[in-house]
C-alpha cells in the first residue's frame, strides 16, 4: 500500500506495488473479458482455437500414429474408411488421416503467428509515422503502400513464391509482404485524426518529442481496430497458406499441411472422401473460430451501452 514520504533523509515514496500500479489495467481487462464472454459464439471460437493450440503442442503424444503424422507411409493400409482404429480413415499412402490432421495443426498456427507479428511490427509503425508527420513522409509511405495494395494479394504472393521457391518459409514471407500495407493504411487514417486530439496537442506544448508522441499517444490509441483487424485477417492468412499449398506453392509433401492434404485427396474425393474432407473441415473450423473471436473482440473494443 502507499505510504507517504517521510522527508528527505532516507524517506521514500512507495506509491504502490506492481499490482496497484496496474489496477486500472486489471479492472479494464476483467471488464473486457466479461463483455467478451457474453458473446457465446466468440467463446466457442476461442475454445476451439485453444483446443487447436493444445492439439498442436501435444501432437506427438496424442496422435495415434505419430510417425505417420509426420509423413511415414504404410502402404498396407491404403484407403481405409473411417473406423475405430482410424477415426478419420487413411489416405492414399496408408497414413492415418487423424494423426496428420493433428500434426497439421501446427502449421497454420505457427505461420499465422509469425506473419501477424511481422505485420504488426511493420505496418502500424509506418502508418503511425505517415499519419502523424504528414508531408512528404506521408506521401512516400502511402504511395509505396498503394503500390503494394494495387496487386491482388494472392497473385502477388504466388508470384513471390514462384520466384523464391515454393516452401513454407517463402510463403510466410510472401504473405507478410502482401499484408503489411493494409495495416499501414488503417493506422495512418487513425493517426491523422488522432493527431488533432487535444491530448496530442497538449503533449506538443509540453515539449514531448515527436517520436515519443507517436509511440505513446498515437499508436496505443489506434490499438483497438488493429487488434480486431488482425484477428479477422488471421483466418484469411490461414486460408491463403492452405490455398497456396493446395496449389503446390507452399508446403511440400510429405508435410501434413491441411491444404496440401486436401489437394492430395482431390482425385479420390468421390470414393475415399475422407482424405480431403477432414483436413478441409479442419481449415474451415479454424478460420471460422478466428472470425468469431474477431467479432467478439470488436464488441469489446467498440463499446456500446449493453444490457
Amino acid at each position: 500500500m502507499a505510504t507517504p514520504a517521510a522527508g528527505r533523509s532516507g524517506g521514500t515514496i512507495a506509491i504502490g506495488d506492481w499490482r496497484e500500479r496496474h489496477q486500472s489495467t486489471f479492472t479494464e481487462t476483467r471488464h473486457n473479458v466479461r463483455v467478451f464472454f457474453r458473446d457465446r459464439l466468440a467463446v466457442i471460437g476461442l475454445v476451439w482455437i485453444v483446443l487447436m493450440v493444445v492439439v498442436a503442442v501435444a501432437a506427438p503424444w496424442i496422435a495415434p500414429y505419430p510417425d505417420q503424422g509426420r509423413g511415414a507411409s504404410d502402404l498396407q493400409s491404403r484407403f481405409e474408411a473411417p473406423s475405430a482404429s482410424h477415426p478419420f480413415g487413411t489416405d492414399n499412402q496408408g497414413r492415418d488421416v487423424l494423426s496428420r490432421v493433428i500434426f497439421g495443426a501446427r502449421i497454420p498456427l505457427v505461420i499465422s503467428s509469425v506473419v501477424a507479428a511481422a505485420v504488426l511490427l511493420i505496418g502500424p509503425l509506418l502508418g503511425g509515422l505517415a499519419g502523424y508527420y504528414g508531408g512528404w513522409a506521408d506521401e512516400v509511405i502511402m504511395r509505396i503502400t498503394d503500390i503494394f495494395l494495387a496487386f491482388p494479394a494472392l497473385v502477388l504472393a504466388m508470384a513471390m513464391v514462384a520466384i523464391l521457391g515454393p516452401n513454407l518459409r517463402n510463403l510466410a514471407l510472401a504473405i507478410v509482404v502482401t499484408w503489411w500495407p493494409w495495416y499501414t493504411r488503417l493506422v495512418r487514417g487513425m493517426a491523422v485524426s488522432l493527431r488533432e486530439r487535444p491530448y496530442v496537442e497538449a503533449a506538443k506544448v509540453m515539449g514531448v518529442r515527436d517520436e515519443r508522441i507517436v509511440l505513446r499517444h498515437i499508436l496505443p490509441n489506434a490499438f483497438g481496430p488493429v487488434v480486431v483487424q488482425i484477428t479477422l485477417d488471421i483466418g484469411t492468412v490461414i486460408l491463403e497458406v492452405a490455398g497456396l499449398s493446395f496449389l503446390g506453392l507452399g508446403a511440400k509433401p510429405p508435410t501434413p499441411e491441411w491444404g496440401l492434404m486436401v489437394s492430395e485427396g482431390v482425385e479420390y474425393v468421390l470414393e475415399q472422401w475422407w482424405i480431403s474432407v477432414f483436413p478441409g473441415l479442419a481449415i474451415f473450423l479454424l478460420v471460422l473460430a478466428f472470425n468469431l473471436v474477431g467479432d467478439g473482440l470488436r464488441d469489446v473494443l467498440d463499446p456500446r451501452m449493453k444490457r
Binding site: 471488464h31 466479461r34 463483455v35 451501452m305 449493453k306 444490457r307
Partner: protein
C-alpha cells in the same frame, strides 16, 4: 387552467453493465397550458431522462419505468401502446435537442425533412406540406425562401440549424414543446435570439414549453415556473422569482451560491462532495451527504414534496421546519 402535462411520482431505472441505475426517484412536475417551465439541474440529475420519457424515447429494454404516471391532458402516456405514443410524438408533444447537427439528417434538405414530418403527422399533400413548412420556418424566425428549403443542414450556421429544428418541432402545431438544452451549443448572442424566440412562441402561438437546462440564467429569463432537480428527483418547484430569489431547498441555495455572477473567484461557494452514483444512491434524501443542514431523519426518510405557498413546493425535511429563509439572488 387545466394541466397540460402532469408527471406524477415517475420512478425509472435502467440496466447498465455495472448495475441498475436508479435514474429517477419519484419525479413530480406539472406543465400548464401556455407556460414555460424550466427543468434545471446539473449533469446526471435526470432532467434529460425525464424529458425523453414523456415521448417514450428511452432505450428499451434497458429502461424500466417502475412507478408513476405521465398524464397528458389526463391520459397516461405510459399506459399507451407504441402506436398511440408514435401518434402523439410531433402532433401533440414535440421535442428539440441540444445538438442541431445531430438532429438533422445530413443527406436531406431542410424543406424535405420538415415536409416529411408534416406529411406523416397530418397527412397533407406535398404542396400543402411545403406551404406548412414555410409557415413553420417563418414562426422559427427564418426567411422561408426556396434557397432555405433547398439547403442542407451543413450549409447553415449553428443558430439557423437550431431554428430549423424548432421549425420542425412547430410544424405540426403541437401544444407542448420539450426543449432539451436548446441553446447550450450556441453563442451567447445567438442564444439570446433563441430565448427571445421561445418567449414569442409562448406569447404569440400559445405553445407550452418544458425548457431543460443547466444554466440558471437561461431559466431565470425565460421561464414562468422552474423546477430544480437533483439526483433523479425534483427538489424544489415554483414560480421562477420565488424559487430563485427565495429558495428553500439547500441544494437550490447552494447552487445559487456557486454562480460566478458578481462574485470574485475567492468568494465563490462550493458544494462539498460530489454527485452520487445512482447505482447505489444514498438512503433517505439523496442530497443529504452534501447538505449543510442535514438532520438525522434525512439519512433514512425520503422527503415528500410539501407546499410552501400556492405555487411553491419543496422536498426537504429541514425546509419544512424553517419559517422561510433563503438568501437567493445577490444584490
Amino acid at each position: 387552467m387545466p394541466d397540460l402535462l402532469e408527471i406524477k411520482d415517475l420512478t425509472l431505472q435502467f440496466n447498465s453493465l455495472r448495475g441498475t441505475v436508479k435514474a429517477l426517484d419519484g419525479v413530480n412536475l406539472t406543465v400548464r397550458e401556455r407556460e414555460i417551465i424550466g427543468l434545471v439541474g446539473e449533469s446526471g440529475c435526470g432532467k434529460t431522462i425525464t424529458g425523453l420519457s414523456v415521448l417514450g424515447l428511452l432505450p428499451r429494454p434497458q429502461t424500466e419505468v417502475t412507478g408513476g404516471q405521465i398524464l397528458f391532458r389526463g391520459d397516461d402516456l405510459l399506459a399507451l401502446g407504441d402506436r398511440a405514443v408514435e401518434d402523439i410524438r410531433g402532433r401533440l408533444v414535440a421535442m428539440v435537442f441540444q445538438d442541431p447537427l445531430a438532429s438533422l439528417n445530413p443527406v436531406f434538405t431542410i424543406g424535405n425533412q420538415i415536409s416529411r414530418v408534416v406529411r406523416v403527422n397530418k397527412g397533407l399533400s406535398h404542396a400543402e406540406a411545403r406551404e406548412a413548412t414555410r409557415q413553420a420556418l417563418a414562426s422559427a424566425g427564418l426567411r422561408p425562401d426556396d434557397e432555405l428549403l433547398d439547403s442542407y443542414p451543413h450549409q447553415l450556421s449553428g443558430g439557423m440549424r437550431q431554428r430549423a429544428c424548432m421549425a420542425m418541432a412547430l410544424s405540426c402545431d403541437a401544444p407542448l414543446l420539450i426543449a432539451d438544452e436548446p441553446t447550450t451549443a450556441l453563442d451567447v448572442t445567438i442564444q439570446a435570439q433563441m430565448l427571445r424566440l421561445l418567449l414569442d412562441l409562448r406569447d404569440d402561438l400559445g405553445i407550452a414549453q418544458v425548457l431543460i437546462t443547466h444554466n440558471v440564467g437561461v431559466a431565470a429569463q425565460t421561464c414562468d415556473r422552474v423546477a430544480v432537480m437533483y439526483a433523479g428527483t425534483v427538489v424544489e418547484q415554483g414560480l421562477t422569482a420565488e424559487v430563485l430569489k427565495h429558495p428553500h431547498h439547500p441544494y437550490t441555495m447552494a447552487l445559487y451560491d456557486c454562480l460566478p455572477q458578481g462574485k470574485k473567484a475567492s468568494e465563490l461557494h462550493t458544494i462539498p462532495g460530489s454527485v452520487p452514483d445512482l447505482i447505489d444512491p444514498p438512503d433517505g434524501c439523496r442530497f443529504h451527504p452534501r447538505c449543510v443542514h442535514a438532520m438525522e431523519v434525512c439519512e433514512t426518510v425520503k422527503p415528500e414534496p410539501t407546499r410552501l405557498t400556492e405555487e411553491h413546493w419543496v422536498a426537504c425535511h429541514w425546509a419544512e421546519q424553517q419559517p422561510g429563509a433563503g438568501e437567493g439572488v445577490p444584490a
